[in-house]
């Protein structure tokens, strides 16, 4: 029961406390308007380059933009506590660590899903793509799975947040790599071989591919393997991130460096 409370209530309270600065005047330009312009930018580059359809770029960029809320927020769950001088208090509590850290991921996944879904709907309406009504629910599921897997990667960022000072730089770099490698804008098959190998193990690659197939009318069963792979990648990154967080926590306690990086 305590673990469930820490997971749900603790996660929610933590999200509200750490992201109280996400007022509408920040949330709207950063989370709702910016992805629309990213979509438009790549739609027009795609038209200029004569590459793929508008739908390809709308789906790729809308889903990939979930990286902003997911990676930044997860990285900030550690950095933000340190900034607010509350990291030490949290880590000296006897609270079980698994619900403590994973609970923080849940609101992040929900927010990441909302941002991507909003970009998908509004970007799609502006550019004028058509998605069959029967594909809407599976598309939402694929988007939510992508938000989940990216939050797993974000947990890894949170672990590095215990070790380094410049978390904003780290989160931006992770976003940039996902932009290049996940097939959001360049078909994975058009990437050099070594880049294709990297893209195979990154969040979004399989989810975006599944979302595109769903938007083209494929039933959920046809993309189940892609979505399962996406979930597995999220679980692996999340597990590695959690283990590293525990390791970094022990390291920082041993060296008394919890409040500095």
């Amino acid at each position: 029961m305590t673990s469930l409370r820490i997971f749900f209530l603790g996660g929610l309270i933590s999200f509200r406390a750490l992201f109280s600065f996400l007022r509408p005047e920040i949330y709207i330009p950063s989370m709702l308007v910016a992805p629309i312009f990213q979509i438009l930018l790549f739609v027009y580059i795609g038209r200029s380059a004569g590459l793929e359809s508008d739908e390809f770029f709308v789906i790729g960029n809308a889903v990939q933009y979930a990286a902003i809320p997911c990676i930044f927020a997860m990285t900030f769950t550690i950095g933000g506590e340190r900034f607010q001088k509350t990291l030490g208090y949290i880590l000296v509590t006897p609270a079980p660590r698994l619900p403590l850290f994973l609970g923080r991921a849940l609101p992040v996944i929900v927010n990441g899903f909302f941002v991507a879904a909003f970009a998908l709907v509004v970007g799609g309406l502006i550019v004028g793509i058509h998605v069959p009504p029967s594909s809407v629910a599976p598309l939402a599921l694929a988007t939510a799975i992508c938000a989940f897997s990216c939050t797993g990667l974000g947990l890894l960022g949170a672990a590095f947040g215990l070790l380094m000072r410049e978390q904003a730089v780290l989160a931006n770099v992770m976003f940039g790599f996902l932009l290049i490698f996940t097939g959001a804008n360049v078909p994975v098959s058009a990437l050099p071989g070594w880049m294709q190998s990297v893209s195979e193990v990154l969040p979004f690659t399989h989810g975006i591919e599944a979302a595109r197939e769903i938007a083209d009318g494929a039933p959920l069963a046809d993309v189940a393997d892609l979505l399962a792979t996406e979930i597995a990648i999220g679980v692996v990154f999340g597990t590695v991130g959690y283990v590293l967080i525990r390791g970094a926590e022990r390291l920082s306690l041993r060296h008394a460096t919890l409040d500095r990086a």
Binding site: R23, L41, G46, A49, L51, E166, V169, I180, N185, L191
Partner: protein, 260 residues
């Protein structure tokens, strides 16, 4: 000290000082280089997979200038806010030189930081993607580069003074990054954009700056574009000074220079 040398010295010292400070910041320095490079790499991959050829040359110079705008847009919006956080805004406002002379070199230094990114982008374009970049008019290319940096810096100055009353100026500055990349024709020919977008492109100095750089590189004669970029920069500066006067007068009267 006579007024002109004092202004020139303040501009030069301010530019050098802020450039040094930014090169030591991993956010402004390292990320300032990497961030536009991510987008440039995607664009190169897209053009290589698609149209290729001449479009890669077009994209290379456009992608190179993206960094100049990025380093300005993300930082200039909150330039005055940052001084406020540091507790130095009141001191700067009460300094004997006009505050515009203090702020302008800050935003030009931000734009100049983009030159690192520009160099990196051109090197990657040449040596990773094998784009055969022309440099037909080296002298006018250098002038076009300076004109682009100065005019984008002046645009940053206008952003800085326009957003001063907004606590969340950084979010507005960030928001302007993608639209200007698109509307100024960095990676997409303006002819592909809807007609109603053109007037917005024409009043943006980066549009003429990137055009000038492309013309100089390909030997097309960049001087009209250089003139337009600098002219627009001067207009931004004049509007910025007028806005600054209004904002500062109001803030002094209300005693709210340090508040927003």
């Amino acid at each position: 000290m006579a007024e002109s040398p004092r202004i020139a010295r303040t501009l030069a010292v301010g530019f050098g000082l802020h450039l040094k400070m930014m090169t030591r910041s991993s956010f402004d320095g390292l990320l300032g280089v990497l961030w536009p490079l991510f987008f440039a790499t995607v664009a190169f991959l897209m053009f290589r997979a698609g149209a290729g050829g001449e479009s890669l040359v077009f994209a290379s110079f456009g992608a190179a200038v993206m960094g100049i705008w990025s380093s300005t847009s993300t930082s200039a919006g909150s330039a005055m806010q940052r001084e406020r956080w540091h507790g130095t805004l009141e001191l700067l406002v009460t300094a004997p030189v006009h505050f515009a002379v203090i702020l302008l070199p800050v935003t030009i230094a931000m734009a100049a930081m983009g030159l690192y990114s520009m160099t990196a982008t051109l090197l990657i374009s040449r040596f990773v993607f094998g784009v055969d970049l022309p440099f037909e008019e080296p002298f006018s290319f250098a002038v076009a580069l300076v004109a682009t940096v100065v005019s984008i810096g002046a645009m940053g100055f206008l952003l800085a003074v326009s957003f001063v009353r907004y606590r969340t100026a950084w979010a507005l500055g960030n928001l302007l990054e993608y639209p200007v990349w698109l509307v100024a024709g960095f990676l997409v020919p303006l002819a592909l954009l809807p007609g109603w977008v053109r007037p917005f492109s024409w009043v943006l100095a980066p549009t003429w700056g990137v055009d000038a750089i492309r013309e100089a590189a390909t030997g097309g004669g960049p001087w009209p574009e250089i003139g337009l970029a600098l002219g627009l920069g001067a207009i931004y500066l004049a509007i910025g000074v007028a806005v600054l006067e209004t904002v500062l007068t109001g803030a002094r009267r209300a005693g709210t220079v340090a508040l927003a």
